[in-house]
Point group: C2
Amino acid sequence: MTPDEEQFVAEMGQFLGASGMTPMGGRMWGWLLICDPPEQTADDLATALRASRGAISGTARMLETAGMIKRLTRPGDRREYFSVPPGTFDALITNSGRTFRRFVKVTEQGLRILADRPPEASERLREVHDAYAFFEREVPALVERFKDAQIRGGRSTTGEPAPSDRIPA
Amino acid sequence: MTPDEEQFVAEMGQFLGASGMTPMGGRMWGWLLICDPPEQTADDLATALRASRGAISGTARMLETAGMIKRLTRPGDRREYFSVPPGTFDALITNSGRTFRRFVKVTEQGLRILADRPPEASERLREVHDAYAFFEREVPALVERFKDAQIRGGRSTTGEPAPSDRIPA
DNA sequence: CGTGTGTTTCAGTATTGACTGAAACTTCTG
DNA sequence: CAGAAGTTTCAGTCAATACTGAAACACACG
């Protein structure tokens, strides 16, 4: 790992570490976005990120659950390979959609508490609730628009063949 | 603070605590969304949230910086009052826009690292970068649409009818 | 069915960072 | 100008949690 790469990985760790994910999760994902080859064994990752096998295992599981990495095996090789599959941003957005949803739920509960008070008592909360409900509904459409633009524009399509799923022997 | 309110405040704390903000920040914001009166002194907050004055001070400063609360004073009253001003969701979104922007910056740095490698080496990262750049560009427009819908429909609208936004008593 | 390779689990450790509380500072008021 | 009320700062404490490392586990191959 070059110094540049090291810094990129560190920054991804800081960034995702500050947004719900663990620092290690950010570092691992960052590395998997730039590493060569794109598929890495648990051992590769432990070496590159200078982390314990335990940390790799747990973090990989978490990232896999979040849909941010994929786990592959190939016949005749007992090891597992991890990689960032094409279309990952989709999983990311879906995930943040879940966050929106949860927030809407919490604010709805709050509005219920204020139900028997004068209407102006719930103005503040209602505004926030409505905004998030709006976003929860509209963001998927935005994602579709992005996908369309991406296909039309040609570069780096997603949801298509996905050749990188194959491990080149 | 009733048990219901207590729970709402706690959940807001958990929620925002898990998304970058501190738990205390979430609790304070949650309380300011439902409290009566809507303006609270530092002392009110310390009592309601059972927190130290130091915590209130620091947290209030953080929330104020994020644009999530407003600080006001009244002539003849030395105390400061805090409240959630109308249009706060705007500050929230603006803030998350900043997050997008930072992420785009980080990924751009990563792409620069991969500049002298074959194009397929940067496919993974480019896709993520493009998605976030797209969102950074499009979200403000979405906010405008929400504002318009809010004005057109009076209170609690979201673009379309959206009956599910209403809380049943 | 044993052996060797690889992965997961889990208790322990270390670190981070949020909150406390007292002291310092600021700013109105009499 | 003295005094009081209020706020901020900051060093210390505490709790949460991310990572380590060794032991248990799973699996393929000979």
